[in-house]
């Protein structure tokens, strides 16, 4: 089989090549597994969570974690002020964080890629209109923009996703616009134009596959950012409303019991840290793999 000459082997796509380089780093791979583990936990929450996350049991009010006096193994991380199992609420809370993070990035990347491709390739008034809108949206600090929108529309899953996506799309848009501007001058795009390819064909089939790497890297970095933003909104009481468990609101709930029940705030915060840190390490690994110049 090895007799097949190298030139005859189908070339691997640049994305696959880069992913192979990413997998070579043990730390990045471990963190990718951690992120994947969180996703699996979130999806399988009803099967994995030991208790109903909203089931209150006032006899277990502020029960400590299993390894402390008064704790029990069935309630590993202890209970909150309403006697709800913290571990189960963290597992269910992962659903909110990951779902909102993924939904915002999906919506924002789709819009950003479309707008960035159009602005960078078509230029002219399309570019001017999109770029001005991007400049205006960049004029708002992110959290303040989201808070203002939610203040007006009210909290709720859909409103949070929209409030975050309304501003998030400008980031992939700027990246894609810049990459497209550079790509449209390259020979392969000129060749496609000379062969009579339509603008839509060139943008989708020629340019997009070649600029996917930076889009993937930016999406992962931004996902970590969006998860912290969602948790911040929930902490302020502007996120998903009770009794639905979300990590940010769990931390807020525990604030009143800092003195004698540290576990109520500590564990959900730790969950945010582990997930966000893992995503950040993964994104750094992806950036290093996709852009060797960044390996410093």
């Amino acid at each position: 089989m090895s007799a097949v000459p190298a030139a005859a082997r189908p070339a691997r796509s640049p994305v696959l090549e880069n992913l192979a380089a990413f997998a070579a780093s043990k730390l990045s791979l471990t963190c990718a597994v951690l992120v994947l583990g969180c996703v699996v936990l979130a999806i399988a929450a009803p099967l994995v969570a030991p208790h109903d996350p909203n089931e209150a049991d006032l006899f277990r009010r502020l029960q400590p974690p299993a390894w402390m006096e008064g704790g029990e193994i069935a309630y590993l991380l202890g209970c909150d002020a309403l006697g709800r199992d913290i571990a189960s609420r963290i597992i269910y809370g992962a659903r909110i964080s990951i779902f909102i993070g993924a939904a915002v990035i999906l919506v924002a990347t789709t819009i950003g890629v479309l707008a960035g491709l159009a602005a960078g390739y078509l230029r002219g008034w399309v570019d001017v209109a999109i770029s001005r809108l991007v400049d205006i949206l960049l004029g708002f600090p992110y959290l303040i923009f989201a808070i203002a929108l939610i203040a007006m529309t009210g909290p709720g899953l859909q409103n949070i996703i929209l409030a975050l996506a309304y501003k998030e799309w400008v980031i992939p848009c700027r990246v894609v616009r810049g990459e497209t501007l550079a790509a449209r001058e390259l020979e392969y795009v000129e060749a496609a134009r000379a062969l009579g390819g339509s603008s839509r064909y060139i943008m989708w089939r020629e340019i997009l596959p070649n600029i996917l790497s930076p889009v993937i890297v930016v999406s992962t970095v931004r996902m970590a950012h969006v998860i912290i933003l969602e948790a911040s909104l929930s902490f302020l009481g502007l996120g998903v409303q009770p009794p639905t468990a979300s990590w940010g609101s769990m931390v807020a709930d525990g604030r009143a019991f800092m003195l004698d029940a540290w576990w109520v705030s500590t564990f959900p915060g730790l969950a945010i840290l582990v997930l966000v840190l893992s995503i950040n390490v993964v994104s750094q690994g992806l950036r290093d793999a996709f852009d060797p110049r960044m390996r410093r």
Partner: protein
């Protein structure tokens, strides 16, 4: 940078500021519910009075005229009455602004004071344990949710060790006559060391919480730019001339390596504004961020609108300042 280019760059801000104002206006206009009803609450008024109020607020005008009126009023700092405080919105905001500015400045100073030495050391001792420690710390810094980190600090220093106060800002405004309205500076200027130390003990935890993500980002930026500078020919030449390593670092490398740090610091100061809302809520800091969060819950929309516009204008101006700074510090770049 020439004056002409500066004016040109300033002119480019106009459409952005107009667009930002339009979005803030739209947010308010599209809010469900009648502003007059929200403002009146449970008060009973005649139809005549209600009409007069609607007219005063400009709600009987067509949307484009309302926008022009909003812009004209905003330019004069007139955002109407705060529903909740029963006084002009700008007065309420002005009373809370110094606390936020003071907190942001201390956070900025802390971030710069940590990030620059750490970033430089990490670059100079590349691949050492110190470099790795700086990288890991900065990775943690950008990944820590600020509100949680703040609570952890409170639990440790205020609750368990009891060496710092739990919440709030030192209450010396009534005792120390204001000069700058920034307590740390005013107490020093008035020679009240006891009050200064108290103010410092109150601000330290919120400032550390607010400054940490910024310090993390600035450490990375300083490290990367220092590494780039250390690779440059002029640094090699300075070393070849026989200058001492420390002199080369301080006189030749650092000056140029700090250009991106200063620029990013200016941009990141804008992002401190968002962090303020969370940190002020955690620490009960009586600043603008906490006021906005409180106002949202009591549907005090004129105040939210004014604050969002002020935040956005400050943010745009800080980004502009970052651009100008970058050009001034690095004459090879032209705006």
């Amino acid at each position: 940078m020439s004056l002409g280019r500066l004016i040109e760059r300033l002119a480019q801000l106009v459409p952005v500021l107009l667009g930002v104002s339009a979005i803030v206006f739209l947010m308010m206009a599209l809010t469900p519910g009648d502003p007059v009803e929200i403002m009146l609450g449970d008060q009973h008024v005649t139809e005549e009075q209600e009409r007069a109020l609607r007219h005063d607020m400009g709600l009987d005008l067509p949307p484009h005229e309302r926008f022009v009126k909003f812009l004209a009023n905003a330019a004069q700092g007139n955002f109407g009455q705060s529903f909740f405080h029963r006084q002009p919105v700008m007065d309420v905001i002005a009373s809370r602004l110094p606390a936020t500015i003071e907190l942001s400045l201390v956070a900025l100073v802390l971030a710069l004071a940590t990030a620059i030495p750490l970033g430089v050391l990490a670059a100079v001792k590349k691949d050492s344990w110190l470099d790795r420690a700086a990288t890991v710390t900065s990775l943690f810094g950008v990944s820590l949710p600020g509100f949680w980190f703040g609570i952890l600090l409170l639990m440790l220093f205020a609750v368990h060790l009891q060496v710092l106060p739990v919440a709030g800002r030192a209450g010396y405004e009534s005792e120390v006559a204001p000069i700058t309205h920034l307590l740390l500076i005013d107490t020093l200027l008035r020679g009240r060391l006891d009050a200064f130390l108290d103010a410092l003990s109150h601000i330290i935890l919120p400032a550390v919480t607010l400054g940490l993500p910024m310090a993390a980002i600035l450490t990375r930026v300083t490290r990367t730019s220092m590494l780039e500078v250390l690779d440059q020919d002029y640094v090699t030449f300075a070393r070849a001339k026989g200058l001492r390593r420390r002199a080369v670092l301080a006189k030749h490398a650092l000056k140029n390596a700090l250009i991106p740090t200063v620029t990013v610091a200016a941009i990141e100061t804008g992002s401190l504004l968002g962090g303020n809302m969370v940190v002020e809520t955690v620490f009960g800091w009586p600043g603008l961020g906490r006021l906005v969060v409180e106002s949202i819950f009591v549907r005090n929309y004129p105040l939210v609108q004014a604050a969002v516009l002020i935040y956005a204008i400050t943010y745009v101006m800080l980004n502009f300042l970052a651009d100008v700074l970058y050009t001034v510090l690095n004459p090879r770049v032209r705006l």
